[in-house]
């Protein structure tokens, strides 16, 4: 057997084993083994006004889904399945963020500058900056800063809205009633959230835990993890939207 074929056979065996056992260590190995594919696909979506880090984040979540859903019984190459899944996630990411498409290009560009400026000002001032401080530093109005901040958010309303537009389900009220009838109690729901959290990539899970369970500020988390506060904010928004989306799918 040629070395490349042997490698593929070994990977396939891991998929079979993962499907049988659900072993997280195996899952992470499979994600790692295909990291370059996620990076490659994220790069194809650059130059559309979204930071590469964010696209990579979406692509990696897509890879996680692909690994978890890949059915070894189907006569399909994993790379084909993963490409379709990740591209779907990336396209959904752009579609869900129609607000960022509608706002002026200037606001999108300003959003990209905000991350660096917040970091620099936080260091210089010794505290997270206010909107007027940011506006003065960037030479723009307060309103422009606020609008640029909005560009980066992935909010609950946006993900629900996208889902509503997508689905041909019952009207909102009926769905809400249905959900109430299902009657997850608080303890069950907490277990569910914990399970979903544990399925997130390590960094995202850590950031959510630090913010919402250990109540660290975004700046503290940024220092802890070694990324910018703005990046923490974006990752939190994205991860919460992902959690929300998975909760709705349960």
């Amino acid at each position: 057997m040629a070395p490349r074929d042997a490698e593929r056979a070994a990977l396939f065996a891991k998929f079979v084993e993962f499907r049988a056992t659900g072993d997280r260590k195996l899952r992470n190995e499979l994600i790692e083994a295909h990291r370059s594919l996620a990076t490659h696909l994220a790069r194809r979506f650059t130059n559309r006004g979204e930071p590469f880090d964010d696209l990579l984040q979406v692509a990696q979540l897509g890879m996680l889904k692909a690994v978890e859903r890949f059915d070894t019984d189907r006569n399909l190459e994993f790379s084909t399945f993963a490409t379709a899944t990740i591209e779907g996630e990336l396209k959904r990411h752009f579609r869900d963020r129609t607000w960022s498409v509608r706002v002026p290009r200037r606001a999108q560009e300003l959003h990209l500058r905000l991350g660096t400026t917040i970091g620099e000002l936080s260091q210089r001032l010794g505290h997270a900056p206010t909107i007027p401080e940011l506006a003065e530093e960037l030479g723009v109005s307060d309103d422009e800063v606020l609008q640029a901040m909005e560009v980066g958010g992935a909010y609950r309303s946006a993900s629900l809205e996208a889902k509503s537009a997508d689905s041909r389900e019952a009207p909102v009220l009926e769905r809400t009633l249905g959900r109430t009838d299902v009657g997850f109690d608080a303890a069950e729901h907490r277990v569910l959230v914990d399970e979903l959290l544990s399925s997130l990539p390590e960094r995202e899970r850590r950031i959510v835990e630090l913010r919402f369970y250990q109540e660290m500020t975004q700046t503290e988390i940024a220092e802890h993890v070694g990324i910018s506060q703005m990046h923490v904010s974006r990752l939190l928004s994205r991860t919460l939207a992902e959690l929300r989306s998975r909760l709705q799918g349960v």
């Binding site: 900056p129 940011l134 609008q147 609950r156 009207p171 009220l173 975004q218 919460l240």
Partner: protein, 128 residues
């Protein structure tokens, strides 16, 4: 809890169609109001996240009518209240509770007089 507290003169009221699409307008207003009060970017992010969670929950609790939201300051805290017609109480899941417990000091929801309502509070920044 009293749904409609006595509003001071420093109130901003916003009425939008009951649609998730319009929650972004509520977020922007929340951010603008919070900015005027001197909150920093992180705290504004908190206010916006809280308002987004709560307004979305109220919108999803029923159909028809408008979503009415008020922003005001009283007793050293920012108070955001909102309501829309409904027949059932809002459903706030554990994830939302967890998020809200961290980003605002007080949050509550309920059903009163055929309207689902929310309220949240956040202390004003020091020196405001």
């Amino acid at each position: 809890m009293e749904q409609h507290s006595t509003l001071t003169s420093e109130v901003v009221r916003l009425t939008v169609p009951r649609s998730l699409e319009y929650v972004r307008l509520v977020r922007l207003t929340a951010a603008g109001f919070a900015s005027r009060l001197g909150y920093d970017v992180e705290e504004i992010d908190d206010v916006r996240r809280a308002v987004d969670e709560l307004a979305s929950i109220i919108v999803e609790t029923g159909t028809g009518g408008d979503l009415e939201v008020g922003f005001r300051v009283a007793g050293g805290v920012l108070i955001v209240e909102g309501s829309a017609p409904a027949e059932i109480p809002p459903l706030v899941d554990e994830l939302a509770h967890q998020i809200l417990a961290v980003v605002v000091s007080v949050h509550d929801t309920g059903l009163e007089s055929d309207r689902a309502w929310f309220r949240c509070e956040k202390p004003l920044p020091a020196g405001a």
